[in-house]
Symmetry: C2
Subunit: 332 residues, 2 copies
Amino acid sequence: MVIDCHGHYTTVPKEAQAFRDAQIAGRADAKVPDITDDQIRESVQPQLSFQAARGTDVTIFSPRASAMAHHAGDARANLQWARLCNDLVHRVCALFPKQFVGVCQLPQSVGGSPADCIGELERCVNELGFIGCNLNPDPSGGHWTAPPLTDRAWYPLYEKLVDLDVPAMVHVSASCNANFHATGAHYLNADTTAFMQFLTGDLFKDFPALRFVIPHGGGAVPYHWGRYRGLAQDMKRPLLADLIRDNVFFDTCVYHYPGIELLLKVVPVGNIVFGSEMVGAVRGIDPETGHYFDDTKRYIDVITWMNAADKAKIFELNARRIYPRINNALAR
Amino acid sequence: MVIDCHGHYTTVPKEAQAFRDAQIAGRADAKVPDITDDQIRESVQPQLSFQAARGTDVTIFSPRASAMAHHAGDARANLQWARLCNDLVHRVCALFPKQFVGVCQLPQSVGGSPADCIGELERCVNELGFIGCNLNPDPSGGHWTAPPLTDRAWYPLYEKLVDLDVPAMVHVSASCNANFHATGAHYLNADTTAFMQFLTGDLFKDFPALRFVIPHGGGAVPYHWGRYRGLAQDMKRPLLADLIRDNVFFDTCVYHYPGIELLLKVVPVGNIVFGSEMVGAVRGIDPETGHYFDDTKRYIDVITWMNAADKAKIFELNARRIYPRINNALAR
């Protein structure tokens, strides 16, 4: 089985974003839209086609990341928006239970407390059958005003994640800072930033069962694996492999063969989980290969020096370990 | 010849930082320190030893990056500090003219204009024989309040860089944002951020002769080269190789063999310039190899699939092209 841990509902019917725009503008006609099952079925045809063509069995599916825009609304608006987005993902999962399992957007906001997200997290996991969440380390959208992920302010949410036995993918949203292009800088910077926070903190001593997926191949981290090993050593921190073993995982959203090969060479196989971010950040076909940039399964498939057992960890078994609730979801 | 484009005076006599601390604290006893030639000779012995041991002939040498701390002082204080730091580098270069060539710190400040840096840049290039500068894309130290590098606010400085025919290394300083570890996150994020700004802007149409070195192996960029090629294609931008050809260069400050190999595989050889960041971010010996993490020459030396002519570009010829004033400096 091939589980893609990183898919967003980027093709959501346009009525959803129209509502959000009206809500943020404070327009009187802002009304949660009626979206039909037919619209939802139609909207995920691209994902279903790509899954079939690429040999992905199931996608761990969450609301469109760039549209979370936690910086744009207050706590109340963002809760309404998160509920709508999560409900739409839930409907996708209900219509296509073999192809999609849900991960939720959290109702974070600038200056809001992570504890405020617990209610929606519980609703999504306990009532909608979701198996994880996306956690935005920078609700300010590129101004980085929240405390680091190792700060105790996050602990109430972490307690709930551990309690529910669900992981968080560290995933920022759109950038409202002109310095940071969202998918070309802000996303990767956040991945790199989060990893270094984990390296320098003792978060996993306090939460041995807490699990984070760092997307986009871990940002800059695997490319600079020697730098991080050296920094950890200089700072008398544990070996990276020990530090991340049960707690930090990188997905395979790296859009060329040399990058994927480096990831698989340097990061322990137990800490890599298949992902494609499809349909997402890069939509075109690579003229150098004739294949979609984000067909990341293909890069792994052609690697000859990794055995089938290890590839099975990346494609399936690690995801089942990181997101244990997927086992029940897939057995239904 | 082997030219290391990326060395900082991290072993500067401690009187320098003591002055800066007193200056920032507004202490009455803040006085530009007297530092003797013997102190300077002594202070660079680590660099000289490493150069000799590793086979580096000359280092393009600049003030300690993390100590620039443009966020800490106002324009006047930062000018005094930049002059002191640049003068110390100049004295190193004068004492060891075969081993060091200078690159200057700019007196940037939060809210200050890039144009304010022109005087010190001219002094360093015209009077001290420096061959480039370090340009901080985020003088706020991790709050990213300055405009992107493609903004016209930077143009007066760029005009002077072109006029003097010197490049800028894009290099942030310390972080005063708790989210960003300096060498483990802020540095790499800035590299990634700057590249994406260049990709999305038309800066090099306005300044065809402007040259930037992006340090630390280009941050996350080479690892995500497919992502950037794909983003450029989706955005109808030029091919990356064309976009960067004469304007954007990556150094080799990547502290493990797989990272260096990836860099050399994906980035055109004309856009790679040897650097080690020595003595700098990572100071230890890699237990997996028995060699210093930052002995980046060794990683390149053992690559068998690149011919000597291409390695000569990385070790010497590209640096002579990017920093043309080095030719006169070395001929003296």
